[in-house]
Amino acid sequence: MERKVVVTGLYMMNSLGMDIKTSWENIVAGKSGIRNITLFDTTQFATKIAGEVPGDVEEYIKKYCKKHTIKQMARGTKMCFMTAKEAVKDSGVDFEKLDKERCSVVLGVIGTGFSKIYEEKDPSNRILRTMDNAMPAWISLEYKLEGPNFTIATACSSASYAMSYGFDLIRSNRADVVVTGGASANITPEEIGGFNEVYALSTANAVPEKASKPFSKDRDGFVMSEGAGILVLEAEEVAKARGAKIYAELIGYGLSSEAYNIMAPMKDGYGMAKTMEMAIKHAKINKEQVDYINAHGTSTQLNDLYETMAIKKVFGEQAYKIPISGSKSMIGHTLAAAGAMGSVITVLSIHNKTITPTINYDPDPELNLDYIPNQSREKDVKIALVNSYAFGGHNATMVFKKYE
């Protein structure tokens, strides 16, 4: 019999809250975390808006780390560490009672958030602050976890690839607990400038909170944001043995490479559709069972069009009945953490029987699915998909199920 993988701990920190409660409440309320960038001077940039976390990371981290450790962490690593600590606390797992060689950390990371804006203030500890593996390393050090501990980098689907690997570790009986997810702190001159160069970012600076508008007719690019999302995955029998609360079950995933273009998604959402089909097959469910999708929905012209086409391709007439959230409309695009952020929101949606909206929604005649426009909705979700796509063609779809 296959081992079941369940979610026993959750946490997220994003532009709508430094803690999961605030963040979730704001997401359910349909608020936007997008503001003018304060982390650096944006005078020379076309984009002047982003989703910065609302609290002072340097102050918050003092509650979690020793002084010398703080100096060795970059902004993204700090957010990841705090989020992981809270997710582990939420899970109630006591690693001292487990075989630590069977406890792992697998994270989606594409940079720690180190930038010239921080280096100018303090150039010390450059290596420790820039190494991508710092995030899982610090978490592993904190709990003395001795199982596989590493990062996966597939751009904006990194966290989903990490969760997939975490799923495999448990399903294949090589781990009992996996701390997984991702973090990102890319609101830097280097990243904003870089994404502006390829015209990927929104420049709707005038009203920041309305700039991110997935599936809307006047969408003009994604809005960069930062944050961390962590899930504690656990073998069902281990979780039940310790009487853990179980939020939901992770029942499968689909991963595929488009092998098409370094930036653009494959025409008409062919690769996206294929990935959802793979996930449904891997999860051993019928398409008819899917009753919610947390979309990648970046607010770019191509992604939102192709993702919509892909959903229609996979589900046919049923596509029009499946509610679809564009969470990035509220919290922006957290890049490497995006899959984790979508997954935390989805697991909470299942657990709380509330699906979250796509705000700033103004219908595009070409996109005619149910994007849960502007207001949350009560729904007892049974099976949900979470989509993540990335530059490089790294597609991922996660499948979560209500735990019964």
Binding site: K66, K67, H68, Q72
Partner: protein
């Protein structure tokens, strides 16, 4: 190189203990010469480099890290007592600490 006096030794000890106490968020009174920096208070080897730069400035010491490395290879300095001994040797001998290895 300055000769190490009892007063200097006491001052150096205070600087070292206060440094580790503050950086590792531990009570100064719980530290003693047998306290292991990594295992007991969650510090790391990089912290000594920060401490070293502080003493280099204070005493105008000229010493290469590789010279200290040669010495430490044969005389591991994991406890606060050993770190104090190492620091005093660096203050007294500077780069010639390698010759003591």
């Amino acid at each position: 190189m300055p000769a190490v006096t009892p007063a200097m030794k006491e001052e150096t000890k205070e600087i070292i203990y206060n440094f580790y106490s503050e950086e590792c968020n531990v009570d100064r009174n719980t530290l003693n010469e047998n306290t292991n920096v990594i295992e007991d208070i969650g510090g790391d080897s990089l912290m000594f480099l920060e401490l070293l730069s502080l003493f280099k400035k204070k005493y105008g010491i000229n010493v290469e890290i590789k010279s200290i490395g040669k010495y430490v290879l044969k005389h591991p300095s994991a406890t606060l007592g050993k770190i104090l001994d190492l620091t005093l040797l660096i203050i007294e001998h500077g780069d010639k600490i390698a010759d003591l290895a």
